[in-house]
Structures are given as C-alpha cells and as structure tokens.
C-alpha cells in the first residue's frame, strides 16, 4: 500500500509539471497580448514593448517556464531587474519558495493571492460537503427503504426539480429572497474565524454552502438510492435476511458498506473539484475564493495567477483521487493494492 501511495504521488507531481507547461503554452498561443493588459489606455507601442521586457514576456516561452520552475524550488524576486534592485531595492518584491510567480495586475505574489483565497473556497467546499453528504445519503437511504411509496417519490421528485435548476438561479434566489427580501439570514459575508469567531464564520457560509449543497444533495439522493437498491437486491443480502439478521444489521453492515464504496469515490472527486473554487457560487455571493480569482485571472490575461490556480486545482483533484483510492481499500476489504 505504501509503495502504491508513493508511486501515485510521484505520478501526481509529474502531472502537475505537465499541466503548468500546457497552461504556459496555451496562454502564449492566445491571440491577445498580455503586455497590453498591463498598460493604460494611452499606451504607445514603445510603452507596451517596455512593459513586455519588464515583465519578461519578451523571453522565449520555454525560458519563462524554466524561470517559473526555478522559482518553485528556490524562490524569485520581482521585477528581475538588477539595475532597479541596486537603485531602489524597496521596490523589489520577494517571493520565497515555493514561488508561483508575481501578478502585475494584482500587485501581489501568486502564493499570497492563493493563500488568501484558498481558506474561503475550502470553508465553502467542506461546509457544502457536510450538508450534501448528510442530507443526500440519508435522503437516498430513506428513498430506497420506502421505494415506490410517498417518501420515495417526494424525495426523488424534489431532487429532480432541484437538480434541474442552474447554480446561479438557486444562489440568486436564496440571496434575494432569504437574505434580502425576507431577511431570514444576515447578508452573507465571509468572516474568517480569526476575525468573527465560529458563529460569524458559520453564519456567513450558510447560504452559499446551501446553494452548492442543494445541487449535490439532489444528485446524491438519486445516487445513494440506486446503489442501496442495487445492494439490497444482492444474493448475500437475501442470505442475511434468510438467516434472520435484524434489519438494522443488514442495512448498516452489509448493504451500506457495499453501497458506500462508489459513493465515496464520487464524493472524493466532487470535493476535490470544489476545493479548487466554486466559480458561480463565489461570484453570486461575492466570496473571494479560488473560483472568483480564477475567473479574474483568465479574463485579464494574468498568466502567473492562472498558472498558479491551475496547479492548485490540479493538486486538489490529484490528492482527492489518491485519497479515494486509499479509502476504497479501507471501505472494501476485497480491494488490495500492490
């Protein structure tokens, strides 16, 4: 198992490098000029050229990529201008390893931007995850247990309705009606625990997490119901019933264990993707998480930030994949890794 995990981590790191290189190449293949975005409206061709040089965009792509990789391991300084460093060292920004670059459009290192945004996306993702796992799985079990009856139809029917709505519709509806018109909750504002305590943190997270969770709850009700019904139809469950085992034991020990394995796989991947930012929910609720940062970076041709977020997002998904694979073996004793 240990060797398997080490091998997976090694492959994951290689994948991260490949993804960063692809992002670099794609960025420079785009028709827009990143140097133009750093210049004001009265920008002359001479100024654009000067900015291109100052930002290092005049160097070959592979050289730029090499400098980026070097920065990840040993750190960098921005701008990389020996003359400026000598005459005005206070203007040089230091970016210690692991340095993911410096965003001239945000006037900050990418590492610091990600460090500010990540806790927001992570809080949102975990709170939503908690909601959808609790309500989605329990709803699915109830629907399976009462198959064909009112509870099943009501749960599956409402799940289908909620699943049909786009996230921005649910988010805006909750924001406008619950927070603004009916004032059932305060206006959602992300407050770190260090600033407002757990109460303010939870209160701020409630509506955006609910928005995310509602979509997933709907999906997980249907997913859990299907897997539980499938397990309930297995021969070994019939055997357990025939042996006279109590219903609770059949459900808890035999049915759920088998049904949970695929759910854990999907949940892990969903959580991994969500950790990298929930673009629409973060935009609707004005949560400055990774999703919103990614949109901002992509629309302003902010290469360093774009590469940094791609890497972090990929790292989350690769990590989630590895964890899910390990969990597989824990949940299902039949799975062995060599």
């Amino acid at each position: 198992m240990f060797a398997y995990v080490v091998r997976r981590i090694f492959v994951g790191v290689i994948m991260l490098f490949v993804m960063s290189l692809v992002t670099y190449l794609l960025f420079f293949a785009a028709p827009s000029d990143p140097a133009r975005y750093t210049c004001g409206k009265n920008c002359s061709p001479e100024l654009i050229e000067q900015n291109r040089k100052a930002l290092g965009y005049d160097k070959p792509v592979l050289v730029q990529y090499g400098e980026f990789v070097k920065g990840v391991f040993v750190g960098r300084e921005f701008p990389d201008d020996p003359e400026l460093k000598k005459s005005a060292p206070e203007t040089i920004a230091s970016c210690p390893a692991p340095c993911l670059g410096y965003s001239p459009l945000q006037s900050a290192t990418v590492t610091s931007l990600i460090a500010e945004a990540a806790p927001i996306s992570i809080s949102l993702a975990f709170m939503a995850f908690l909601m959808w796992m609790v309500f989605g799985i329990s709803g699915g079990i109830i629907a399976a247990l009462y198959k064909g009856r009112f509870a099943d139809r009501a749960l599956v029917g409402s799940a289908l309705v909620v699943y049909s709505f786009p996230t921005f519709f649910i988010g805006l509806s909750l924001y406008i009606f619950v927070a603004i018109k009916w004032q059932l909750t305060p206006i959602p504002v992300y407050t770190p625990i260090s600033e407002g305590g757990v109460g303010a943190w939870l209160s701020g997270l409630f509506l955006p997490s609910l928005t995310l969770a509602l979509i997933y709850i709907a999906g997980y009700i249907r997913l859990t119901r299907a897997f539980v019904l499938e397990s309930m139809g297995e021969d070994y469950i019939r055997t357990a019933r025939a042996k006279g085992l109590p219903q609770r034991q059949i459900m808890g020990k035999h049915t759920m264990r088998a049904a949970l394995t695929p759910i854990a796989t999907v949940a892990g991947l969903d959580l991994g993707a969500l950790l990298a930012g929930a673009i629409i929910t973060e935009t609707v609720f004005n949560y400055n998480g990774l999703g919103k940062l990614a949109v901002q970076a992509a629309t302003t041709y902010d290469l360093p930030t774009t590469v940094g977020i791609v890497l972090v997002a990929a790292a989350f998904i690769i990590t989630a994949n590895i964890i899910v694979d390990v969990l597989y073996a824990v949940i299902d004793p039949r799975v062995k890794y060599s």
């Binding site: 028709p31 827009s32 000029d33 133009r36 750093t38 210049c39 004001g40 409206k41 009265n42 920008c43 002359s44 061709p45 001479e46 100024l47 000067q50 900015n51 040089k53 100052a54 921005f78 701008p79 201008d81 003359e83 400026l84 005459s87 005005a88 206070e90 203007t91 040089i92 920004a93 001239p104 459009l105 945000q106 006037s107 500010e116 786009p166 921005f168 519709f169 805006l172 509806s173 924001y175 406008i176 009606f177 603004i180 018109k181 004032q183 206006i187 935009t283 609707v284 004005n286 400055n288 919103k292 940062l293 949109v295 901002q296 629309t299």
Partner: protein, 587 residues
C-alpha cells in the same frame, strides 16, 4: 477613457428579471439638470455614522499616479488624496467643474502663454502621520509617472507635456527609481520653498482641469513608496485614512484622518460620516435588490452601479423606492466610426448616407430606453467646457431613411451596399442595439452584417487591417475639455494612423486629416480654456462634415441610494458618481 459593454452577468440578468417582483403605484426620480448634476435626500447632514459604498468592479489601482477609473479618481480626491486644486463639493452646472484651490493657495498662475505654471502650497497641510506636505512630495509624485516600467496603467499626459526630452518615443527621464535623466526632470519641475513650477514643451491651458480630474499630480511621500507593491497602499492627505489594508475584490474601511485640518480645505469637503465602508465584487442585481429592500446597513448605502433594465418596473411602480433614484448624465458618449480604410466608406456620400440612416432613438430604446441615455449631437459630452451641438448631427434622432437612400443612390455604388458592423457584443442589450441600427441602415439601402465581438474588442479594432466598415465606440473625457476627446481620438499623428502598420491607437476608424490635425495644434497653443474650446469646436465641425464619427447617445447614470443617506449628490465634479464629499447619514 474607453468603455466596454461586455458583461459577465448575462445569465444573472435574465434570472433577475424573473425574480423581480412588481408592486404598484408611481413615484418620482431625481432627474439631473441636464448637465450631469443631481441632488437628493436631505441637503445637509450631521457628522457621524457609517456610509456604505456597494460596487462590483474592483479598484485596479489606489496608487494616485496609477488610478485611471472615473469613480476611483473621484473617491480618492474626496477621501484621501488632496491635490493642488480640486473640483468643489456641492456645486452644479459649470461651477461643478471649475477648479478651486485645495492644497495650493490659489488655482495657479501661468506664464509664457500657458507653458509655465506655478502653484504655492498652503501652510498646515499634512500627511496622515502629521508631517507637512512639501513641494518635494509634489515633485516626487509627478516623477513616479515617468517610471513607466514600474508605475503602469495610469494616465501619462505628463510624459508628453513636461519639457523633458524624448528618445525613441519615451522620455529620457525614467522615474525616481533609476533616476536616468534626473537633471532633465529637475529642469522641467522645480521647487522653491513651497512653490512648484512646471515647465511644459507646449501650452497647457487647461492644466488645472487636468490636476483636478486626475491624480497624476498628487503629492507622494518618497519614504512610503515601494513601487508596484504600493498599488493598494494609501497614505492619506485627505479627511479619511484606510483602516488596516485594502483587499482587492473585497474593499476596505476608511476612518477619520486625525491630521486632516478642515481649516485648510476650501473645496467644501464636509467629511460627515465617521466611517466609510467600500465593498467590491457584488453583482449589479444584488446591489440594487439590497437598495430596494433598504434594510439594516443598506439604508446608509450608495452605489456606482446602474440599475439593471430588468428592475425598472420594480422601481417605477414603487414611489418610495423611486424617490431614492437619480438619473443624471454619465461622462460617456456612444458613437459609430466609419472605417476610412474600407473601400466603401472612403466614399463621402456613403458615409453621409450612413449618418442619415442611423436611428439613435431605436438604438437607445434597444439599449434600455431613456434611462440608458439621450440622443447625442456630438462626440463631446455636454458637460465639457465650451460644448456645442455639432451641426452635422442635429437631424432627426430617428434618422431619415428616405434621404439616406437618395444619398446612397447618388453615391455611384450598387445597392444594396454591403457593410459589416463590428461592435462590443455579447449582451442582449448590445445585440438588440446593433439589430436596431441594422434595421435603419438596411431600410436605406445598406445590407448589414453584424459582427459582435465578445472576447476582446478594442485590441481587434485597433488593428488598421481589420476588415470591417463600421465600428462601435464609447468614450469619456479625462477632464472636462475637448482636448481629451476629439484630439486623442482623431489626431492621426498621435495615433499613428498611416505610420504604424500595427495599431491605429484610439483612432479606430483610421481617420486622417491634415486640416483637423492643424486645428488640434492651434487649440493646443491656446493660452486659455475658452479660446481652446472655440478651436476644438471648429475641429469637431470638420469631423462632422467628414462624418469621421456618428454620435449615438450620451449615457445616463440611473442609480439608487439608501433612505438614511443625507446630502446625496452626483455631478460632473465626480464624473457623475455619488459625491462622498457631501454624503452623510441620518441620525
């Protein structure tokens, strides 16, 4: 300043229209006086309380020398960056854009026909740490704009005006960090005690207007400067200072600056609230729904975001909400540009026909109606000093397709004349507006292909080789003078038309006229603003005769504010945005 109509919230808009709940009744909007001014709520307020500013677009820069967004320029001046001269608080009409002394003892004295300007600092003006604001601080602030590789994104008029020699298209002085060419800069800007003298290479009649509008000439303390890292660091010289740090995309809180002495301030800044909280990143729909609900802290909120069209009925039918709305001229004018590189548009009669067939009324209706804008009679905004209607564009707002067709028939071209119209699209409003224009043109004998660009816009039309016949444009003056409208848009030498094969600068229609260029030179040499305005008006007349552009609409700002706000005002002094110099809260 160029404007783009691209929005990322299309879907959100659509949903909001579904979510909007109509009530009943009628009410009254506080309408501007036609010159971009509006005042609402109680005229004067009391000190204390907190004002909330809700907005969507994050500030790109809060460094005075890098700021170039009208809203931020206005707020910086009212809150934390005083300048030698500023626009007064609480004035309307032409008075709103008449600079008054702020850090300086007067509005400056010019000599040598406007090529030399002198200002003297007042006694007792201080930074937030209690140190005096000095002439060296003013000089240092201006010098930063020359470090074009570090201090990026801001206005760069000083590079062209200050008497600093140029080499390869850039000044020989490269700012206070590397100090190359420092002696040249020191000759152009000199300090003598509290008096600063600016030497320009050409007359700058409206220099005080530029100081009051931009923050390029604001003082900056050298010991606070960390280059690009100071982008969001605010070291105040005004009535408020930043509490903690500014968080891009989230905003910041401003509290009173204990070292600000109101006795040194004759601009009329009232500095009423104890605190001002600016929140960025909210969607237009959420901001305006919160202002409609008017509950909790939102009673004390203002915004710079227009009311979305989907909410008009909700506001129009609720008198209480409508009484908190204002409709004033925005600084922006929408216009069309025939492409002078296109074979068909080289024919003056075809351009005339296009002008005659343009239905401004339909364009405005499709864009959102009278709350979007009013028909424009010139590319120059009516709030600009010396504005007058351009006689070439005073015909029927709905166009005259019959006259256009006759003109086209006499142009020696085969009908229908195929044209391509390229515009900044991607929103229902922009696409509907383009369709409305097409309808009028096609009726007159054109056959129009619509070419909406949804990703990048100005980068595409800046290419002189772009194959299109008509472009859409939007523009707002940098300061209330035609010097920042027609000259930067149509001076072919400045924009490199015919000389730069890669870019036409901001002369997107590739227009080139020696006669107009000569008028721009003449206006630039004028020693005072009024005589310059007269020459700029002549240049505009010529542009109209050549149909170098076709004005569409003077945009409007339709804003809401909370019921607990006092002294609410919008004027040309703040580019039509709420004026934090007079706003307070009800106690």
């Amino acid at each position: 300043m160029t404007i783009s109509r691209r929005t990322t919230a299309l879907a959100v808009l659509a949903v909001t229209s579904v979510l909007s709940v109509a009530a009943c009744g009628g009410g009254g909007t506080t309408t501007g006086s036609g010159n971009g001014s509006a005042t609402g709520s109680a005229a004067a307020g009391q000190k204390g309380g907190t004002v909330y500013w809700l907005t969507k677009r994050p500030a790109e820069h809060l460094d005075p020398q890098r700021t170039y967004i009208g809203r931020d320029l206005a707020n910086e001046n009212r809150l934390f960056y005083r300048d030698l001269v500023s626009f007064p608080v609480g004035k309307t009409g032409e008075e709103a854009t008449k600079p008054v002394a702020d850090l300086a003892t007067d509005t400056g004295t010019s000599s040598e026909g406007g090529k030399v300007w002198k200002f003297t600092l007042k006694d007792g003006v201080k930074w937030q740490d209690g140190k005096d604001i000095t002439c060296e601080d003013l000089k240092y602030g201006l010098s930063r704009g020359f470090a074009t590789d570090v201090i990026t994104g801001g206005p760069n008029y000083q590079l062209g005006y200050l008497d600093v020699p140029q080499k390869d298209g850039l000044p020989v002085y490269n700012g206070p960090y590397k100090k190359t060419g420092q002696a040249d800069f020191d000759k152009a800007v000199a300090c003598e005690g509290k008096t600063i003298t600016y030497h320009f290479n050409k007359p700058w009649a409206d220099f005080p207007l530029a100081i009051a509008s931009l923050r390029s000439f604001a003082p900056y303390r050298a010991d606070q400067d960390k280059g690009d890292q100071s982008n969001y660091a605010i070291f105040s010289s005004g009535p408020y200072q930043l509490q903690g740090t500014w968080q891009k995309g989230k905003g910041g809180t401003f509290v009173r600056n204990p070292n600000y002495d109101p006795k040194t301030d004759q601009t009329g800044r009232m500095a009423l609230p104890d605190k001002i909280v600016i929140t960025e990143g909210l969607t237009n729909e959420i901001i305006n729904q919160r202002l409609i609900a008017d509950s909790g802290d939102d009673k004390y909120a203002v915004t710079d975001r227009k009311i979305p069209g989907s909410m008009y009925s909700q506001i129009d039918s609720n008198p209480t909400v409508k009484s908190r709305s204002t409709l004033v001229n925005a600084p922006f004018v929408d216009y069309l540009l025939p492409n002078f590189n296109s074979d068909v548009m080289k024919n003056p009669k075809v351009r005339d026909a296009l002008k005659l067939a343009t239905d401004k009324t339909a364009y405005i209706t499709a864009s959102g109606g009278d709350k979007y804008g009013v028909p424009a009679k010139s590319i120059v905004n009516p709030d600009i000093v010396g504005y007058k209607d351009n006689a070439a564009f005073t015909g029927p707002d709905a166009g005259d397709t019959a006259a256009a067709k006759a003109m086209l028939q006499s142009a020696g071209v085969t009908l229908p004349v195929k044209i391509k119209y390229t515009y900044s699209g991607g929103t229902p409003e922009s696409d509907n507006a383009a369709a409305a224009l097409k309808q009028g043109w096609d009726k007159a004998g054109f056959s129009t292909t619509l070419d909406p660009l949804t990703d990048t816009y100005y980068d595409v039309i800046q290419n002189p080789n772009t194959k299109s016949d008509v472009y859409w444009g939007g523009w707002g003056a940098d300061w209330p003078s035609a010097a920042t409208v027609t000259a930067p848009l149509f001076d072919s030498r400045v924009n490199g038309v015919g000389t730069n094969p890669k870019s036409n600068g901001q002369d997107y229609g590739n227009y080139k006229s020696d006669a107009v260029n000569s008028l721009f030179d003449q206006a630039a040499k004028a020693a005072d603003v009024q005589s310059a305005a007269t020459v700029y008006a002549q240049a505009d007349d010529q542009l109209g005769k050549d149909v170098a552009y076709i004005p569409l609409t003077v945009e409007k700002f339709y804003f809401l504010h909370g019921s607990g706000i006092t002294g609410y005002a919008q004027s040309a002094a703040t580019s039509g945005y709420p004026d934090l110099g007079s706003i307070g809260v009800k106690k």
